[in-house]
């Protein structure tokens, strides 16, 4: 047995699947076949002996993404959204002199990667680095496609140049995924990562607060908020294998959909960022749904903007917003009342807090976990602040009727016993 045969036994011990024929001797350069530039609509950039592909797209002001046009989403002339500072003050801060010297302005650059896997580590490549930014009312996308690992350094240099002019970057889940991957790639090439010290807005968290919390994927948020339904979108799990197919065959066709997917992600990212900035700027009146108003209130509250937060909760708890009386809507109203109550309590406005707790209890379909919290808060309020032991006792009895766990039953019984002692201070154990 020669080495190759023995190796085949090692690599594919039993029931060997179909064998890909050995690549022709020498190193074919199929992966950077000329056709890629043509099929994908990009231009080759030479780097030393290698090259990578750059694909530029401009989306004019009139381009519509779902219900929204690019022009509606573009920021003011500076390219920045000052209201994003509510998410992270550094985003709205002055561009550092050091960066300004390098030509940076306040512009936000959107970043989205397509990678060869999710495991991380040195063997996970960002084969497609997508960048996007607004430029005088249009949306500009620039994608860097790695056609062979040898050109990675050149590609990263170009990404660095693109990001160098930014005042901030925005991503969707970039804190845990895109930026660490980029960091690894730059470190591997012993290059300074351009994201170091650059303000960063990760939209995942505000999006979770503002929109459907259970479906936080970008595509789902895109459809729900912007009304943009993707057709023939390539599913995420398929992306690495499409890239590998291209690398092996040199046929760029499978990548078309991947590049389009990445462009749509960047557009969504930009439109959603704009939407969030608008909400933050205009406050509760801009909220389209109760859920949005509630989420907005929480974003304000985190930043200590309590008056704005309160206004949002009021709006979310009221019935002025569309959505009717669905279960979802009722839950949002209940949560808004709870948020209000907690906010009042935080500012020691106990009467106002108690009123919210009471309204929460009075809701026709108050969720049990919120009702329990409201009852307990009210019981404390009646017992310790108003010294209205009878009302406190009534709430405790109600609690006991719905308590399900032994711990809660025990706690409530304890409260009842204490209240009974307070109601009848004299010894009363004649029975």
């Amino acid at each position: 047995m020669n080495l190759a045969e023995r190796l085949r036994n090692v690599v594919r011990p039993a029931g060997s699947p179909a064998v890909t024929p050995l690549p022709p001797p020498g190193f074919p350069s199929s992966a950077d076949a000329e056709s890629a530039a043509e099929v994908l609509g990009g231009q080759w950039r030479e780097w030393r002996d290698d090259r990578y592909l750059v694909v530029d797209r401009r989306y004019p002001p009139g381009h519509r993404h779902g219900r929204v046009a690019v022009a509606d989403s573009a920021p003011d002339a500076s390219g920045a959204w000052p209201a994003l500072g509510i998410l992270d003050p550094r985003v709205a801060g002055e561009v550092s002199p050091e960066r300004a010297n390098k030509g940076a302005d306040g512009r936000v650059v959107f970043l989205d990667l397509e990678t060869t896997g999710l495991s991380g580590g040195a063997g996970t490549y960002a084969f497609l680095v997508g960048c996007g930014w607004f430029d005088a009312g249009t949306f500009q996308v620039r994608q860097f496609l790695l056609t062979g690992c040898a050109a990675e350094r050149g590609l990263l240099e170009a990404v660095g140049e693109t990001v160098a002019g930014a005042g901030a970057i925005a991503t969707y889940n970039g804190k845990t995924f895109d930026l660490p991957i980029m960091q690894t790639r730059f470190l591997l090439h012993r290059m300074a990562a351009p994201f170091e010290g650059l303000p960063h807005v990760d939209l995942l968290h505000p999006a979770r607060r503002l929109w459907k919390p259970e479906e936080a994927g970008l595509t789902a948020v895109d459809a729900a908020v912007l009304g943009h339904v993707r057709e023939n979108d390539v599913p995420g799990f398929e992306i690495p294998s499409r890239y590998f197919r291209y690398v092996r065959s040199g046929d760029p066709a499978p990548l078309q959909a991947v590049l389009e997917h990445n462009r749509l992600d960047l557009l969504s990212l930009a439109m959603l960022t704009s939407r969030i900035a608008r909400l933050l700027e205009h406050g509760p009146d801009a909220a389209a749904t109760a859920r949005e108003a509630l989420g907005l209130g929480r974003l304000y509250e985190r930043r200590g903007m309590l008056a704005e937060a309160r206004a949002c909760f009021v709006r979310a708890a009221g019935s002025g917003l569309p959505g009717g009386a669905t279960a979802d809507e009722m839950l949002t109203r209940a949560e808004a009342l709870r948020a209000s109550a907690l906010l009042y309590r935080r500012t020691r406005a106990h009467e106002a807090a108690a009123e919210r707790w009471q309204r929460l209890l009075d809701l026709p379909a108050c969720p049990p976990h919120l009702a329990r919290e409201a009852r307990e808060a009210l019981a404390v309020h009646y017992e310790h602040r108003l010294r209205d032991f009878r009302s406190a006792r009534r709430l405790a009895v109600e609690s006991l009727q719905v308590s399900s766990t032994a711990v809660r039953v025990h706690a409530t019984q304890h409260r009842l016993a204490r209240l009974d002692r307070k109601l009848n201070p004299a010894p009363a154990s004649f029975f």
């Binding site: 190796l7 190193f27 290698d50 060869t116 896997g117 063997g123 590998f244 690398v247």
Partner: protein, 853 residues
């Protein structure tokens, strides 16, 4: 903090003994205990007729000192002087000088000879001179890394104080992930226990990273960009307990180090390797095989050593016919008692966690004071909480603990001070480990003792009856085969993930470009430009375990209370140990296999209380694919003198005509049944049949061919001849295991009738008698690992020794007709197995196949 020093090794020695008893009194007590054990027979060395089969005196050695080599930082010298180290032992000075000079060095000196200073001094010195410098320490266990962490923290703290006192020391800022104050020199462990949120800080701040090969393999190398700072500035790699890396583990480590050096080249560093090893036969060869660089060897210890008495004890036979001896645990208890009653401090080594607990209980019963008083007898094993372990170690150093019973957990370099006596309950398995354990007792001056109590296991019996094997022979060779294709391919995948291979790159002894071409066929890599790009979503290191034989494992699921995974077994040994109704043992607890899900690679077990274990009956057939070398005349008259013996390297077209051979073989095996064997008596108490899939592998083997003429000349019935071959194979296996320094499951054995006569029935159990009648039976000893792990060639080279020792084992056994110690228990083989096996060996000796003992 380190204990105060009394000598260059940094071990506390003076002080505590003074509190307890005077040196002359201690000497008297030791002498009296030894006199009692040897019944005054110390003058008779290797007396074979007593329970004590050997009593050797190892003479004392005086210390040899040397000055600090040039280049050791003055601050470090100052700190060491303050701790009593005025000068170095010669071996320390030599090792430090090599390391500072950038030459790879391997140090083999006995336990407690100040080995850690050999690597800490150059590392700390280099970091003091250049705070950017980094070092990576690899330990085989996490506990050893923790122990070293404490030692380094102590030194770093003193250095920081020293810098604070001095005028212009390097800038010091206190830090430490755990809040411990230490010098500006950051020392951290990085292993599976390191919290995720601490890892980033460690990557950035650690000057010295203490880790293990597994973590380097799966947690550091694949993420090397995050460790760029370490790799760019890596000056030293320290590998402690080098001898632990042999066989499969060592072959994996060699590849991990290839990957490490490849990553270092990427970041522009070329670290110096400092390795320390217990005494093995080939430390330099092992280091060079693992690192693939030339090494300097420092093997002459300059540390002083007191006189040591070494005793071998074989418990008396209580049933001669069955070869049953008195329990070695009871014997250990008695012997430990002789020392304890005389106020001597001792360590008892047991072979398992269970026996550790049993002996602890025995000694506590005998010697523990009333409840509430200080615990003088302690157990020590893996699984104890670190806090408890530290407390026991401290108690030993201070003298408040009189005896500790330990597993091999205390064999390695944990600091427990110098004890008076070491008692080993059972042979530790290798000469190297035995010396290592014996070294836990010993002092710079004054006498100490070590006692080995043999169990009835075959290897134990061999060693205890042949003390010269232990005392006079060289310790074992540690063997690795970094170019085993299975291991190599696994690591080529990992390396390709870490950095693309270039078209010109070399890796290992085989043509890596060929390997990459085959990997490309499986679409793991693809040639792009002049590099092989990793084109898979997988993270290959996760699929490669350094310690197990293959990543395709059976896991053992305990269903007694839910579904807990309690162990794993390699694919090759899975069917034999995890078949249905098999008894599976973990730390003395017994489980019975209720169901084996072969395809799902899971065995479901339940706890059981029984008095037997199971032994699978495996039919194994070995087919020779290609003999590499053969020697020994076989075809001719076995009695004729001067039979032509071709030298090594000669090739014979017909392997059957030579006595010894090694080469590539195909092994197919099938578990067809099992026997129930009663504990202690080894009686066969039942059996069952099984139907499991056949397993196949290509591996390497050494084989012995018994010439037809030899067989024909035996004046016995065919069945008896067959028994003789079976018995011979059984005995050869024990000896091969000893010679190869390997574990029992590392090698497999098989017998065949030689030639095509008996295709189906080659078996560990038995080929048919007829098959052996007129053909040349062969005994195969194969590497029980796909591709072979490098045992066969050395075994071939030791062929004469192998047979001579086998003869010694069988001839020297006191049993009548065979026992588990020599040719196998009587139930296994016929009554004449022992006699016939000896006769065969005698004939082979005449043919010149045995070394003259």
């Amino acid at each position: 903090m380190l204990p105060s020093l009394d000598g260059p090794s940094g071990r506390l020695d003076l002080g505590r003994k003074a509190v307890r008893r005077t040196e002359p009194a201690r000497e008297m007590a030791l002498r009296s205990a030894l006199d009692r054990l040897t019944a005054g027979r110390q003058d008779r060395q290797d007396a074979p007729d007593g329970w004590v089969t050997a009593a050797r005196v190892l003479p004392a050695c005086a210390a040899e000192y040397a000055p600090f080599p040039a280049g050791v930082d003055p601050q470090l010298q100052e700190v060491l002087r303050k701790r009593g180290v005025e000068q170095l032992y010669t071996h320390q000075a030599a090792a430090i000088a090599y390391a500072l000079d950038g030459r790879h060095v391997v140090i083999t000196t006995p336990t407690a000879s100040g080995k850690t200073l050999c690597y800490n001094a150059p590392v700390l010195s280099t970091i003091l001179n250049n705070p950017a410098a980094r070092a990576l320490y690899l330990f085989p266990t996490k506990a050893l890394a923790q122990d070293q962490l404490a030692e380094l923290h102590g030194l770093a703290e003193l250095l920081s104080q020293e810098a604070g006192n001095g005028e212009q020391g390097p800038e010091i800022q206190a830090h430490g992930a755990d809040g411990q104050a230490s010098a500006g020199i950051g020392v951290f462990t990085y292993d599976g226990d390191t919290p995720q949120d601490a890892r980033k800080a460690i990557r950035n701040r650690a000057h010295i990273v203490l880790s293990n090969p597994d973590m380097l393999h799966s947690g550091v190398l694949p993420h090397h960009p995050r460790w760029a700072k370490l790799f760019e500035n890596l000056r030293y790699v320290v590998i402690d307990e080098l001898h632990a890396y042999r066989g499969v583990f060592g072959s994996h480590l060699a590849n991990v180090l290839r990957r490490l050096r490849r990553i270092c080249r990427h970041y522009g560093s070329a670290p110096t390797f400092i390795c320390s090893s217990a005494t093995i036969a080939n430390p330099r060869e092992l280091a060079e095989a693992l690192v693939e660089q030339p090494f300097e060897l420092v093997s002459e210890s300059g540390a002083p050593r007191g006189e040591k008495m070494f005793l071998f004890v074989n418990p008396p036979v209580v049933n001669r016919q069955l070869g049953i001896r008195r329990s070695y645990l009871s014997e250990t208890r008695r012997i430990a008692g002789e020392f304890l009653t005389r106020g001597l401090q001792l360590i008892v080594f047991a072979q398992s966690r269970l026996t550790t607990e049993i002996l602890t209980t025995y000694l506590k019963d005998d010697f523990e004071g009333p409840p509430g008083t200080r615990e003088r007898i302690r157990g020590y094993r893996g699984g104890y909480l670190p806090v408890r372990r530290r407390e026991i170690e401290k108690g030993l150093r201070e003298g408040s603990v009189a005896a500790v019973v330990s597993t091999n957990a205390l064999e390695l370099g944990i600091d427990i001070g110098a004890l008076d006596v070491c008692v080993m309950a059972g042979y530790p398995g290798t000469i190297a480990a035995t010396w290592q354990r014996a070294g836990r007792a010993g002092r710079r001056s004054g006498r100490s003792a070590a006692v080995l109590v043999a169990s009835s296991a075959p290897v134990n019996q061999f060693v205890v009856r042949h003390p010269a094997y232990f005392f006079d022979a060289s310790p074992e060779h540690a063997l690795v085969d970094p170019d085993n294709l299975h291991i190599l391919v696994d690591h080529v995948k990992c390396a390709a993930f870490e950095l693309p291979f270039t078209a010109a790159e070399q890796y290992g002894r085989h043509d890596v470009q060929e390997i990459l071409r085959v990997l490309a066929e499986s679409e793991l890599v693809h040639p792009v430009g002049t590099a092989w790009q990793w084109t898979s979503e997988s993270y290959p290191a996760d699929a490669v375990s350094l310690r197990s034989i293959s990543s395709d494992n059976f896991v053992v699921v305990d269903t007694t209370r839910g579904a807990d995974v309690i162990g794993e077994t390699s694919f090759t040994s899975g069917p034999a140990t995890l078949h249905e109704k098999a008894i599976y043992m973990v730390e003395g607890a017994l489980y019975q296999v209720e169901r084996l899900d072969f395809d799902g690679r899971k065995a479901y077990v339940r706890e059981i209380d029984c008095d037997y274990y199971t032994d699978a009956i495996t039919y194994t057939k070995v087919t020779v694919l290609e003999p590499f070398e053969t020697t020994g005349s076989g075809g001719g008259d076995p009695g004729s003198e001067g039979a032509a013996i071709p030298g090594p390297g000669s090739r014979a077209p017909d392997p059957g005509s030579r006595i010894h051979a090694h080469g590539e073989v195909h092994v197919s095996s099938r578990v067809v049944g099992f026997k129930k064997i009663k504990f202690y008596t080894n009686e066969n108490v039942g059996s069952g049949e099984l139907d499991l899939p056949e397993q196949q592998m290509h591996t390497t083997a050494y084989w012995l061919t018994v010439p037809a003429a030899v067989m024909a000349s035996l004046p016995y019935a065919p069945d008896d001849r067959r028994d003789g071959i079976v018995g011979l194979a059984f005995a050869m296996r024990q000896v091969a295991q000893l010679l190869l320094m390997c574990d029992r499951q590392d090698i497999g054995i098989s017998i065949d009738g030689g030639g095509a006569k008996d295709p189906g029935a080659g078996a560990e159990a038995a080929p048919s008698s007829e098959a052996l009648l007129d053909v040349e039976p062969r005994v195969f000893i194969y590497d029980n690992y796909p591709g072979g792990i490098g045992f066969s060639e050395p075994l071939f080279a030791m062929q004469g020794d192998l047979l001579a020792r086998t003869r010694g084992l069988v001839a020297g056994c006191e049993c009548d007709h065979g026992c588990p110690t020599c040719v196998g228990p009587l139930g296994n083989t016929g009554p004449l197995a022992k006699t016939v096996a000896l006769r065969i060996l005698d004939r082979l000796a005449v043919a010149g196949a045995l070394d003259v003992p």
